[in-house]
């Protein structure tokens, strides 16, 4: 692999700014690496070869004439997860039902990337409709972990995480409903951040669970994540849950010391975590203590219920969101033309994969008459208590530090027959979505040659602090500078 492809997005952006590197050179190297090696990883659903080359040339020309206002992403190849709408380009959500769907509009973040002259080099593979923790439910085949191709990359943003890990791109955008950015970032040894809910517009993100979904970056470093968030965040009238954040620069605090700041270690996150991952977490606590931070244990007893309330709330919202797939307006329609009801049922039954159908059925059950109060309402009431528990914790602590995933990358097919076991992959990431908090996963060490992520969680709108802690860690460690051989 060309050394260029090992650089962080921030380093590449600086090289392009200072005219030591052209966008075309970078795009050519990326495309070559993708063409030579993505057949082993399967991280892309669509590769935009001609378009990216053309756009790179165009950007270089304008840059040479100083006709372009330079943004962080100018001339940088980026992958967008294939549940993010891209006008004129297939947007499949890795589902058969949207196999041939060409979006007639751009998502908010797509517009932001284009406006910043970022180069969308392709669309990333994912679990179907972002429902999964291993990227095995994709209609376009599973993604393989670049560290060991017999293993999963995590999910659902498996493509975006694997592509950064493999060096195909220095950065990508994913979405995170219950851990879908952070868990694959952990399993692939890269940095991935879910910002505070509402800071990035969901307009044009194919909806899974609207009160939990959030778009965020995956890249080599926390600093990269902050720089990308600066571009994609902002209030959008097309998403009424989006709002203007109360700070300007996600990276404004990265040079501030963390001396004297307080880190809470929630022990309830460690219950189902593998021993070697606990050891790595303990080492990272020592690292932070060495930098002057004060770490203390904290109890968050509702943690153990978060997975269950998530598997009520997310499927409930999904069953409602996915009712739009009817084989009428767009998407797959079955050849059954007997009548419209039969066509609807057959289009959905043949168009959705097993996991998606399973979740629609759970959500239909928990929302159905007679069960609504016992399940959906109950889950939302507990959600209130979870939010309160976190609020109380952040009165005492600046951030919380926890593992990202209870295990390292597991073997392909290891958990496909046991949905509950699969769901438990997100035990440490789900509570963050329940409360709408910002959190980042960064590489914290290795266990038997597989990367292990650590997770830094902040209070709502505490995104800067999350990045500050992550950046300090990366300034003083080298885990994020390891690259798999593929």
């Amino acid at each position: 692999m060309n050394k260029l492809l090992e650089l962080s997005t921030t380093e590449l952006s600086n090289l392009i700014s200072s005219k030591k590197l052209t966008s075309e050179e970078l795009v050519i190297e990326s495309l070559k690496h993708i063409e030579d090696n993505d057949s082993k990883i399967n991280s892309f659903i669509t590769i935009l070869k001609e378009e990216s080359l053309k756009q790179a040339k165009n950007i270089d020309e304008k840059l040479s004439k100083n006709e372009l206002e330079k943004s962080f992403l100018t001339g940088i190849p980026i992958m967008l997860k294939d549940n993010i709408a891209t006008k004129g380009i297939k947007t499949t959500a890795a589902s058969k039902i949207l196999e041939n769907y060409i979006s007639p509009y751009n998502s908010f973040v797509t517009k932001k990337v284009i406006k910043g002259n970022g180069i969308i080099i392709g669309k990333g593979n994912l679990d179907e409709f972002a429902m999964g923790s291993s990227n095995e439910t994709s209609f376009f085949g599973e993604v393989k972990n670049p560290w060991d191709t017999d293993r999963v990359p995590g999910g659902s943003s498996g493509g975006p995480a694997a592509a950064v890990s493999a060096g195909f791109v220095s950065c990508s955008l994913g979405s995170d409903t219950g851990g879908s950015i952070r868990q694959p970032a952990s399993l692939c040894g890269v940095s991935g951040m879910k910002p505070t809910y509402g800071i990035v517009s969901r307009y044009g993100l194919i909806a899974f669970a609207s009160s939990l979904d959030q778009i965020g970056p995956i890249a080599r470093t926390a600093e990269d994540c902050g720089n990308i968030l600066n571009i994609i965040s902002g209030k959008d009238n097309n998403d009424s849950t989006s709002y203007e954040k109360n700070f300007n620069d996600f990276n404004a605090k990265i040079n501030d010391e963390i001396k004297g700041l307080k880190i809470g270690i929630p022990k309830d996150y460690l219950k189902n975590v593998e021993p070697n991952i606990k050891t790595i977490l303990e080492e990272s606590i020592k690292e932070f203590e060495g930098l002057g931070a004060i770490a203390e244990e904290i109890e968050l007893p509702l943690t153990e219920y978060c997975m269950d309330i998530y598997y009520i709330i997310a499927p409930s919202e999904a069953s409602s969101n996915l009712s739009r797939y009817d084989g009428v307006k767009y998407g797959f329609r079955s050849s059954n033309t007997e009548n419209s009801r039969a066509s609807l049922i057959e289009s959905r039954s043949k168009g959705f994969g097993d996991e998606v159908k399973r979740r629609i059925m759970i959500g239909t059950y928990t929302l159905s008459a007679g069960y609504y109060d016992a399940y959906y309402k109950k889950a939302q009431q507990i959600r209130t208590l979870v939010v309160k528990e976190f609020n109380d914790a952040f009165k005492k602590f600046d951030v919380l530090l926890a593992p990202t995933s209870p295990t390292t990358a597991f073997k392909i097919n290891e958990k496909t027959n046991d949905p509950i076991k699969m769901y438990q992959s997100d035990l440490c990431t789900i509570p963050v979505n329940i409360a709408g908090l910002p959190a980042i996963s960064i590489p914290g060490g290795f266990d038997k040659d597989l990367p292990v992520g650590i997770q830094i969680i902040g209070p709502q709108n505490g995104d800067q602090k999350v990045i500050q802690f992550a950046h300090k860690f990366q300034e003083n460690t080298k885990w994020h500078l390891n690259y798999p051989k593929i």
Binding site: V328, K377, K378, T384
Partner: protein, 96 residues
């Protein structure tokens, strides 16, 4: 917890999904998943307001003005079947 055959059929109907006649796997998965939720009754939620949205934004309104987002033609491009500027679907009513 058990899901009866009748209950499963009703659920499939509500979800507009059909399953192969051999649907034991999905039924037993659902039973296992739904059983887990029983533990939630241990938590006292009397007088607790439900949270549907976590950021406390209220009344996010926009001006009540119509605007054109996409043309008819652009929208029809993705429809499986269309005719004379309209989406075509199989018949809705039976002959009887």
């Amino acid at each position: 917890m058990k899901i009866s055959k009748k209950e499963f059929e009703n659920l499939s109907k509500l979800a507009s999904l059909s399953f192969e006649s051999n649907n034991e796997n999905i039924v037993s998965d659902l039973e296992k998943i739904l059983s887990r939720f029983e533990s939630l009754s241990k938590i006292d939620t009397a007088n607790v307001e439900p949270t549907s949205h976590v950021t406390n934004l209220q009344n996010s309104m926009r001006e009540d003005k119509s605007k054109t987002i996409l043309s008819n033609e652009e929208i029809l491009k993705n429809s499986p079947e269309n005719t004379s500027g309209q989406i075509k679907i199989p018949r809705v009513f039976d002959n009887e």
